[in-house]
């Protein structure tokens, strides 16, 4: 592999790499605003100027202030080059910390802050703002300009999701490039020149495609803010764990940002994974965190319809065990969930074995609109994982309704709230005296259930999703589950305990070990449902 020298350090590069990209791969940051590894090169912020010491040297004529003479005198300085645009060459010598470079960085930083409003105290970006970071690293003094800054529009509504503040904007054009290059919907552009520059919408349009939050994500400053996250939390109070999006079968990697003081998830951020989602997530995926707090089932209930009786989880578990004991094993249906983790589904499979049930089904959300960017047409994060954990073919919920109508089934144990059917299509299930639903959220199945057992959501448990390409990805627990609520695998283990056939699952590691041992997990019997993303409609 060819290499070049960056500040005396040897950096390998691939042919065609820019200096910036090669350094980025090597984990070295050259200060930059406009460059983004997933977008084209704009080279407009000038923050990444470096001194290329090898090859032909160009000198720029400048005027330098001579303190002895008290006047400006002609002088020269080396011509600096943007690291994001210059291709790396074998044995190139690059200096990104020399005095000339630092002076350039200082000047660029002073220039970018020239008209910046004093907004840090009310800006959502504060704490993760490049202007703040680089001020400390590269400018650390006051600007010389003492006149009133140029004022530009603030709080401009770009659409349902994004608000724009032109005064904070540094015109790096990352948001424009996201719309152009990632989404292929050139809805943003720039108008005016110099310090009148601002980002505008295409006439008659709103920022309304499926990746609008990515414009906010790439914004290095606080110019674009998410209306959902705006003024909700300060980022330095947020902690982060690694999550996997529960929105569809792509399984985009995310950072789950939560505040441990309140046990609340505030937002998701894309986590770079070149094999899955590269740098991005879609809007619906970014908003999946809301299901952790909205429409939650937090109390166990027994009874159906208008008057379900709230009981303690232990009482509900006792009742579940009693009913499973009283029902003939062959007449119990187990419904696995494409929304729940492999661990949860595997525990359910073990419970099904314990009670001798043979009827197994898979509840999943109906397909949605996929696209050729990230979204898979399969709206479920873990269809492959559920099938693998259940250890074979599963019938779908339509078959379940048929079997119930045929009288082959007397009791149902369902994981998760969702199925392809709407509530009114589930009417045959209402005849069942035992429909147990283990769920974190409300849905059609909780409406039909006679016993509802609350379980932890994905943000409240450790787990694994296997995405449409068959890649198993684990996610971490961010916040504690509501009081008395356990992860589904643990609740299932408690039911099995009551049935005197303990599964031996005390920690998630136990479930994972058993899952790994299980032959079914070793060789997934089901091909991924949406290996190739479905074309956009």
């Amino acid at each position: 592999m060819p290499s070049f020298q960056l500040n005396g350090q040897t950096i390998p590069f691939e042919k065609g790499d820019t200096i910036m990209r090669a350094a980025w791969r090597a984990g070295i940051e050259i200060p930059h605003y406009c460059w983004h590894p997933g977008l084209s090169i704009a080279a407009n912020c000038r923050m990444c100027l470096v001194h290329i010491k090898s090859g032909r040297q160009m000198q720029m004529p400048i005027m330098r202030f001579d303190e002895k003479k008290g006047a400006y005198v002609p002088d020269t300085k080396p011509k600096l080059m943007p690291a994001c645009q210059v291709e790396a060459q074998e044995d190139m010598e690059v200096d990104s910390v020399s005095e000339d470079v630092e002076k350039a960085q200082h000047s660029v930083q002073e220039f970018l802050l020239l008209n910046h409003p004093v907004d840090c105290p009310i800006c959502d970006q504060a704490g993760e703002c490049k202007l703040q970071d680089y001020w400390l690293d590269h400018q650390h003094d006051l600007k010389r300009k003492r006149t009133e800054p140029v004022h530009k529009p603030k709080g401009v509504r770009f659409g349902e999701t994004i608000v724009y503040d032109a005064e904070r904007c540094i015109m790096c054009t990352r948001c424009i490039r996201v719309c152009d290059e990632l989404v292929g919907d050139p809805v943003l552009d720039m108008r005016e020149r110099g310090n009148r520059n601002e980002i505008v919408l295409a006439p008659g349009r709103e920022l309304d495609h499926d990746y609008t939050l990515m414009t906010e994500h790439v914004c290095p400053v606080g110019a674009l803010t998410s209306r959902d996250f705006r003024f909700k939390a300060r980022v330095w109070f947020l902690k982060s764990v690694e999550g996997v999006c529960s929105g569809c079968a792509t399984g985009c990697n995310s950072h789950v940002d939560y505040d441990s003081r309140y046990g609340k998830v505030y937002r998701l951020r894309p986590r770079d994974n070149m094999d899955v989602n590269k740098f991005w997530m879609c809007d619906d995926g970014m908003m999946t965190y809301t299901e952790v707090h909205e429409g939650r089932v937090t109390t166990a209930t027994i009874g159906r319809g208008d008057e379900p009786e709230a009981v303690l989880p232990e009482e509900a578990i006792d009742d579940v065990a009693l009913r499973l004991e009283q029902t003939e094993g062959a007449k119990i249906a187990f419904v696995f969930s494409a929304l729940h983790s492999s661990e949860d589904n595997f525990a359910l499979a073990r419970l099904a074995e314990a009670v001798g049930a043979e009827k197994r089904y898979l509840a999943a959300r109906p397909d949605w609109k996929g696209d050729d960017i990230l979204r898979s047409a399969d709206h479920n994060p873990n269809r492959a994982g559920a099938l693998a954990a259940a250890g074979g073919e599963l019938e779908d919920t339509e078959d379940l309704i048929q079997d119930v109508m045929a009288g082959a089934i007397e009791a149902v144990v369902a994981l998760g709230p969702t199925c392809e059917e709407e509530v009114d299509q589930l009417e045959p299930l209402l005849k069942l005296e035992t429909l147990i639903c283990l769920t974190a959220n409300e849905g059609p199945l909780t409406e039909a259930a006679t016993i509802v057992l609350p379980v932890a959501s994905w943000a409240e448990s450790f787990g694994t999703f296997i995405n449409g390409k068959g890649i198993a990805q684990t996610f971490q627990r961010a916040i504690p589950a509501p009081a008395g609520v356990d992860p589904a695998w643990k609740t299932i283990a408690k039911i099995a305990e009551e049935l005197d056939s303990p599964l031996g699952f005390n920690r998630v590691a136990d479930v994972r070990a058993a899952l790994a041992e299980s032959a079914a997990a070793a060789t997934p019997s089901v091909a991924p449902t949406s290996a190739a993303p479905a074309p956009a409609e």
Binding site: L113, H116, P117, V118, D119, C120, P121, A126, G127, L131, Q132, W135, L136, Q139, H140, D141, L142, K143, W236
Partner: protein
């Protein structure tokens, strides 16, 4: 008239059989200078053995330092030795500055020396006053403590607080000296000299004071060195070790002062060493006042370390960013570890700081002088009488806040 005391010959004296008695003293005893418990084995009034048990005061000082920024350590440092908090402030500042590799402007260094020495005078007056009081002499106690009030008036004027000032900053001080600072200090120095003379007049020829301090609470030079004792307590045994002299920090190599030493390492020597150190501190203050420039910066000029002017914070984005970064993330020293030590009121006060490059200290370890001095108190007390415990313990000058570990 019959003599009151019948002088018995050795043959006539009765040897009464006694049994060792175990007595608990403290932890919540007004004379225990903070919550210390002593388990005493007594033969009559003679101490056969004593088990000194610190640990009843526990705030988790060192652990608490690991969650805030570096500047947020100052209030904790104040509360280490709350009798001379300014010396702790200065000690911690110097440790952080050593970690950063910076030096404060000269004016600030002089300011720190003067405030620190004033604190030392406070510390010694408090200790000596209390020592006298513990022998029943209440007047000298009040006489000496009035000096503390004078000094606290000055410190209050300078820092805004009489006791826990939190006045140090990394790379400077929280505020520059007030305009009348030098005059204020110059005004009290002759008064302090007068008080020292008066207190010595009250005590040094007092038979009770002499009998109850000379030869009481003795510690040998070898044992003091072996136990890591420092400060006036070590110097009272004859070792002229003073960090200001032996490892000059800040500007101490610019001043002419002596290190007083004792000979016996008893309560009397400790009292006298402290009295003389007050005089030496005043010498240092006088020289520092002379040399200290009236104009010039107090803080280092680096926005990565010092907070910007408040007015700038409200008006300019650059200062807002600086303020924000320093308050939310804190000053970020380079990765590394540093040990920095100064002469505090009771001896060598050391800060060992480990930095992982973030704005929060990875570890702050304090070497508090009192912790080591306290270890010596057991040996000093054995063989003495029960009534000697409180004055001896008083002259060790154990400060509970430092023994929090």
């Amino acid at each position: 008239m019959e003599p009151i005391d019948e002088i018995l010959t050795e043959a006539e004296a009765l040897e009464l059989p006694t049994e060792p008695m175990r007595l608990n003293m403290g932890p919540s005893h007004p004379a225990m200078h903070g919550t210390i418990r002593m388990v005493l084995d007594l033969d009559g009034e003679t101490i056969l053995n004593v088990d000194v048990q610190p640990g009843y005061l526990h705030r988790g000082f060192e652990k608490s330092c690991e969650r805030g920024t570096y500047v947020q350590v100052y209030p904790y440092a104040d509360r280490l030795n709350y009798v001379s908090p300014m010396l702790n402030n200065v000690g911690f500042s110097l440790a952080c500055e050593k970690l950063l590799g910076i030096e404060v402007p000269e004016r600030c260094a002089y300011y720190r020396v003067i405030l620190g020495e004033l604190s030392r005078i406070c510390d010694h007056f408090t200790c000596n006053g209390a020592s006298a009081m513990e022998l029943g002499a209440f007047t000298p106690f009040l006489w000496l403590l009035k000096v503390r009030d004078w000094i606290w008036d000055i410190l209050e004027k300078e820092t805004g607080a009489r006791m826990t000032h939190s006045f140090g900053r990394i790379g400077g001080m929280a505020a520059p000296p007030t305009p009348g600072f030098k005059e204020d200090v110059r005004a009290i120095l002759p008064e302090i000299r007068k008080v020292i003379g008066e207190a010595e007049g009250l005590l040094l020829k007092n038979r009770i004071f002499l009998d109850r301090t000379q030869g009481i609470g003795k510690i040998s030079q070898e044992r003091a060195l072996a136990l890591g004792v420092t400060g006036p307590m070590l110097r009272s045994t004859g070792v002229a070790y003073d960090v200001r002299k032996d490892h000059p920090y800040s500007l101490y190599d610019r001043f002419d002062f002596d290190v007083p030493v004792g000979t016996d390492g008893d309560n009397w020597d400790r009292f006298m060493v402290r009295m003389e150190e007050i005089r030496q501190s005043m010498r240092i203050i006088e020289q520092a006042l002379e040399q200290m420039p009236d104009e010039g910066p107090i803080n280092v000029d680096d926005p990565r370390i010092m907070l910007p002017e408040k007015r700038e914070v409200y008006d300019t984005i650059e200062a807002t960013i600086a303020h924000f970064k320093l308050v939310m993330e804190g000053m970020k020293p380079p990765k590394g570890r540093v040990y920095s030590f100064t002469e505090a009121g009771n001896g060598e006060l050391g800060f060992y700081i480990v930095s992982d490059g973030s704005g929060t200290p990875y570890r702050v370890r304090v070497r508090p002088p009192c912790w080591y001095n306290l270890q010596a108190s057991r040996e000093m007390l054995i063989g003495d009488m029960i009534a000697d415990i409180v004055p001896t313990f008083g002259s060790v000058n154990m400060i509970g806040g430092e023994c929090d570990r």
